[in-house]
């Protein structure tokens, strides 16, 4: 089965502008060799902290950015090298929902125009027909037709995110890139939106590329998880396997740091907090990029950059010492 989306060795560096000195500051290596696939109807989560490059990755997948190297294949076809003008046919297949519902909707446009924009871009459609289509989409996301002529600021944050989802669904895409789509929402609204997304996935067989930083949401929502650190993927695994037993020391640290809303369990956890701050993406450490904060780092880590290699049962990990030889992965998750 061809993967719906295949990212292969993707690289994107940003050149910083020349400062006051002679030399140019080193480039920000936002995405530094990422390979990832998303199968049809699957939810793949990409987690990591700020500076890891997950937002840049999202924009590359949406072809809002041009990759410096590497391939992007959508439904088997290479789109990484295409100039922006030739990308229109592919935009129908992959759409986006952004983090800030208020910022992603033009405040001066009515909701019918906001959701109708993608439809008008690809079809010649009359006003009444458009209104009916948009009303249908509003119904799909749990909103009534009374919102058609409203403006974004007249509705709540959760409703705005539903509008963003409706707009993304207008062209019936095969893949939705959700860039921190629930991070800015209150907990109770987040639950509503996640339920909506799950229902939509069942009905429409859409795949999700879910960029997030909240691990508890990822645990519930995703099928597979990729952990990113400083522009590289350091581990991928089926979600249950990652949360049961993370292999990469960074994944372990993320899981250890995430607060648990249960006082009974919170105290019991052995917390091995990592220290310090992540290095800047323009000054990535040699060898393994996590070694400066890694509790199990050894000399070889500074010399050799560990590749992402299979670790059994659909898992991969980029570490010299994981999986430990004693940990033999069996074939069941």
């Amino acid at each position: 089965m061809t993967a719906l989306l295949a990212l292969d060795g993707l690289v994107k560096h940003f050149r910083a502008r020349r400062g006051l000195g002679w030399r140019r500051p080193p480039p920000v290596r936002a995405v530094d060799g990422v390979s990832l696939t998303v199968e049809p109807s699957e939810t793949v989560a990409v987690v990591g902290e700020s500076g890891c490059g997950k937002s840049t990755l999202a924009r590359l997948a949406l072809r809002l950015l041009d990759p410096d190297a590497g391939a992007i294949r959508l439904e088997g076809r290479e789109i990484g090298g295409l100039p922006q003008s030739q990308l229109r046919p592919f935009r129908r297949r992959v759409q986006a929902v952004f983090q800030d519902p208020a910022a992603s909707l033009n405040p001066r446009l009515r909701i019918v125009d906001l959701i109708g924009e993608p439809i008008r871009n690809y079809e010649a459609i009359g006003r009444q027909a458009l209104r009916e289509r948009v009303a249908g989409l509003l119904g799909d996301v749990g909103l009534g037709g009374e919102h058609l002529d409203r403006f974004p600021h007249e509705i709540s944050g959760g409703q705005r995110q539903r509008i963003g989802i409706a707009r993304a669904l207008a062209l019936d895409p095969a893949l939705l890139v959700l860039d921190e789509a629930v991070s800015a929402l209150d907990v109770s609204i987040q639950a509503q939106i996640l339920n909506l997304l799950m229902d939509l996935q069942e009905e429409r067989r859409i795949a999700y590329l879910f960029i997030a930083h909240d691990l508890s949401v990822v645990e519930h929502f995703a099928d597979r998880v990729a952990v990113m650190y400083l522009g590289r993927i350091v581990e991928t695994a089926p979600v249950a396997a990652l949360f049961a037993d993370a292999l990469h020391p960074y994944s372990e640290a993320l899981l250890a740091a995430a607060p648990i809303p249960d006082p009974a369990r919170a105290g019991l956890r052995g917390r091995r907090l990592i220290h310090g701050d992540p290095p800047s993406p323009s000054a990535i450490p040699s060898g393994c990029r996590f070694r400066t904060r890694c509790p199990i780092a050894r000399p070889v880590c500074a010399e050799q950059d560990p590749p992402l290699k299979p670790a059994g049962a659909g898992r991969t990990v980029a570490c010299h010492f994981r999986p430990e030889p004693a940990q033999t992965r069996s074939c069941d998750p």
């Binding site: 639950a191 993320l254 250890a256 701050d277």
Partner: protein, 333 residues
Amino acid sequence: MTDANPPVLALEALETRVRIGRASFPAVDGVSLELGQGESLAIVGESGCGKSMLALSVMGLLDPQVARIVSGRILFDGTDIAHLPQHRLRTLRGRDISMIFQEPMSSLNPVLTIGRQVAEVVRQHEGLSPRAARERAVEMLSLVQIPDPRSRAAAYPHQLSGGMRQRVLIAIALACSPRVLLADEPTTALDVTVQAQILELIMSLQQRLGMALVLITHDLGVVAETVSRVVVMYAGRKVEEASTTDLFARPAHPYTQGLLGSLPSRARSEGLRRLRAIRGVVPPLTAPRQGCLFASRCPHAVDGCREEAPALGRVGPGHTVACWRAGELGDGP
């Protein structure tokens, strides 16, 4: 709290109203609470619940054009500070009651070194000489675990990471050993690994210095791991107060139950695919306030709920809730 051990901070039916256009609306609607010496308390709620306004009211940082305290008392060590003139509040702020905010970058002056900013607070309140203030600044930077504090004191805010900046803010807030620290979403803007470090720092400092802490947050995980008592706010009112253990184990108010129930971790532990979302949205500030404000979203609401607002009643030791049906309902939705 007994007379022998009076609370260091007490709010009595505090009401803060916000002016929009010609009318005013209660952002904090009759909230009372007590904080003992050295105690840690969390105020939990979603956006629009009034928790930030409460903190600003206590600190006297309300913009008089927009909001003001209209009734109730704020007792610090027994004295009402709600209507103190600004110059009296200035001596109180920073020295006796300190506050840290969500966005570390906007709270620091970008053109002053961090050492200078810490020293300034000390000089202002304790009148130390510049040299003594510098020494104290280095002490504080070391207290908040900034590596190499003496040389880092000469750094500017933009040279530091988000986590470091937040540590600087904590150093500034604690420089004069205040009795009360208000922390308004101190880690929301930080990565999860840094959040864990900062929370641990705040808690250990709180215990070491015997400070009372009010932690304002929307993150129930943070609450479970840090404080001993919790106040839940909804639409400007206090709806529940309990020890952390009691709140999570036996939530009495339907809103609290809904919040906890909608967490992804709960759904997982109950084997549910869909999250248990609270239907509806938080009522806007401008909506009429009749009866229980949660009634429109409450699965247990009866007619009486919409007519009269419930007062806080005891349901257990140190556990109060504002719900007419608190006695009858169980612990879950």
